[in-house]
Point group: C2
Chain length 459, copies 2
């Protein structure tokens, strides 16, 4: 019987993995100290980009290194299956600085395997995870043509805030057109939990400024009669949440997508312990919005956190001053259904109305980011589920993440395609820290996941 | 008829003033740049002390310059009238630094008269006011023996916090024994209002420290689930006062001496305008404790003001951090009936009980000071009233001050005598600022007031 595409998609690719070759190549890439933050490594940035460009070209991709105002990025495409979906794989080849060097057990740019883990800067973030996709494509190509059209976008400035990515996306929007975008640049929920991350929170970041008197006053001569902007700021901040942990800004929750029963049940089944979570950050209790579990609070509920506060005398000893002004930085994490610009406007309108008598309060907008969610019923999510099931022998968990990944929102808005976050790493990989590592098994499972995912996306 | 003591006390001393001599001598003293904060002026400090010692010796006082661990102080006494009260006059010969020099119209140590005002550093604070007492004594001596025993204590470190005064008071408590202590080192209520200040607020100064997680957390990954110590601190501060502006610490108001109807009426008659007061500090309203006027809030009611606050990110731009800790400096002005140590203990007990779940809050004691009040019916207050009436042709106003003057509480507690604050200056003298000045008339009225006060205290 001639193998049909469906049969081919069911081939067990695990047996075909070239483990030794996949590790050797990744180690070569990890040896290039492509630290984007440090100008001393400029030449290494180019070396890393060219390494990837050559590899993808050797796999039959049209591949090039594109200059930007900063570090170059690698673009490659192989579009041999018209009518099939196009998948854009995003990753980054730049890494965090290696400091503090003395805390590394083995040198950060000499990859070393200990206890089943590859120790090297960039091993998990993001060279290891990005290269798993390169090897996943190679694995499929060893069996014939790719089942979908594939594009790679591998940038060199993720660790410095991707300052040139948005302009690039705008300029190359046509070329980068895809049906779905796949990113593997984070951590799955737990070691034995294959995970699809289908949502990110958005952000509204503002500053509150409170003005009292026209100058600093002596707290003896004026205390009791003059308005105190720090007391006033504290009052304003305290009023921004009620005793149920809910944000009090009128209209704040308007349009917020409530969790479905299915999602709540799904998350309740995840291996999570409030006790362990509290212990891991050293707190005696986990306050938060009433009526929601910790994961729900983290992934699906908006927040209001003060990120910084200042006013008056902060030095040693005492100074009896009623300062003229005080301020705070406040970030609100947003969830699907909330718009950052609208939320920013709402807090700008609300704060002056709750400022105590005698002071004036003003809210200055900083920046924002859209929340992102992929429909759980979308074929892309289901394809990822099937791929992960084939690798791990169990269905995927579907979680979200509490953070905001600006590039994801940028992809979403500039390229108009859904973004699938399929992470191969783990928190214990310690990205950004000394002794960053990536489990050898996670690397190979990443290669397999990539190959199966491309197969499943073809269905 | 031989003049009796009573008759002599009724002599109009104004006609006997040696205005020219009094001004010439004060100018000589003002020319000595006795800046206690600046080691460059060390020799001038000694010169100023010796100037005063020689002058008092020339008036028949036993006078000496006493070394301390810092700048010397001048002690002098003339005790020729056994059976009569002893009056200790305190003042200071050191002055504030002159900076910013470029803002002075005429040099700070070249006293210049313009528009009836003596412009010079120290003219009002406190050389001019202290020297008025020296010349007041001289005026009386020109008519015969002093009516009371007089001691002078003129220190050289008031502008640097009087670090060596308390040890000196302890060591010389017997020698400094007095029935009443007179200090002229401040401002009277208004130009046409001769004032006796009969009360000072005390102080409890503390720091609140709030601890959240064991490290700074990412507000995306943890926001909504992890406790935020800044939000918690704001909530704690907001809870320390109710919506009537009253402090909520249990027991805070226990024992507070309520104002008498007489005091309230007396203060209500003082020339004060809330509108002008608010305008002078540039605020649209004067919040404060309900049920009390502005002067009552300033002089007779305890306060709770945050003097400094900090936590998280205070730099430019944004950082999405939930910090591990936050803190604030808090001062409470206290009134008669409140004890600083007790109040400090009360807030230390209360704050942990109102800390939101998930954080721990701790209050660290800084320092405190006792509130001071002189009985309005005391013979000393009445003597001051009569003396001021003789100078200004109208009765004195009796006010208090909102600040805490640590040396007053020290005099009170270490020497056990009541302290009379009879100020000759005005706020518009701008002590501590460039172009400090003292009205020539206020100087001569100060001399007269001093002489009359010593006469009246003999009665």
């Amino acid at each position: 019987m001639t193998p049909s595409p469906t049969d081919s998609a069911q081939t067990d690719l695990a047996a075909l993995l070239d483990r030794e070759g996949a590790e050797r190549e990744l180690f070569d890439l990890l040896r290039i100290p492509s630290v984007s933050a440090d100008p001393a490594y400029k030449a290494d940035m180019t070396r890393a980009a060219e390494f990837l460009q050559r590899k993808l070209a050797s796999l039959g991709f049209t591949a090039r290194v594109d200059a930007t105002a900063g570090h170059p990025l690698v673009y490659a495409e192989r579009q041999n299956v018209p009518g099939q979906p196009t998948v854009l794989i995003y990753g980054h080849y730049d890494v965090q600085p290696e400091a503090p060097l003395e805390e590394w057990t083995t040198p950060p740019f000499e990859p070393t395997v200990r206890d089943g883990r590859i120790y090297a800067r960039g091993s998990t973030d993001d060279k290891g995870q990005a290269y798993a996709h390169v090897r996943g494509v190679e694995l499929l190509l060893s069996q014939g043509e790719l089942p979908v059209n594939v594009k790679f976008l591998l940038e060199g400035e993720e660790e410095v805030g991707s300052p040139n990515l948005e302009p690039y996306l705008r300029e190359h929007a046509d070329e980068l057109k895809a049906d779905v975008i796949v990113i593997s640049d984070g951590s799955r929920f737990a070691p034995d939990v294959p995970t699809v991350t289908y949502g990110l929170r958005g952000l509204s970041y503002v500053e509150i400024h409170v003005q009292g008197a026209n100058r600093d006053l002596h707290s003896g001569s004026y205390g009791g009669a003059a308005p105190n902007p720090i007391n006033a700021l504290a009052e304003i901040i305290a009023k921004l949440k009620d005793d149920q942990g809910r944000v009090t800004i009128p209209g704040f929750y308007d349009g917020v997508e409530e969790l479905t029963g299915e999602e709540r049940e799904m998350w309740a089944r995840l291996p999570h312990s409030d006790e362990e979570f509290a212990a891991s950050i050293g707190v005696p209790a986990l306050p938060g919005e009433a009526g929601y579990s910790t994961l729900e609070r983290l992934w699906a509920r908006p927040t209001l956190d003060v990120n910084g506060i200042w006013g008056g005398y902060q030095g040693e000893g005492s100074k009896t001053v009623i300062p003229a002004r005080a301020g705070a930085k406040v970030s609100m994490r947003l969830v699907p259904g909330q718009d950052p610009e609208r939320i920013t406007r709402l807090i700008q309108e609300y704060v002056p109305t709750i400022a105590p008598a005698g002071v004036t309060a003003e809210v200055r907008a900083h920046h924002g980011g859209q929340p992102v969610k992929v429909d759980l019923d979308s074929p892309y999510v289901k394809a990822a589920d099937r791929a992960l099931t084939r690798v791990y022998g169990k269905p995927a968990a579907f979680g979200r993440t509490g953070g905001s990944i600006p590039i994801v929102a940028a992809f979403r808005s500039l390229l108009g395609a859904p973004v699938l976050l399929v992470d191969f790493g783990l928190n214990e990989d310690a990205p950004h820290s000394p002794n960053e590592s990536f489990a050898v098994e996670d690397y190979h499972n990443g290669i397999l996941t990539s190959a199966y995912l491309l197969q499943e996306l073809a269905e």
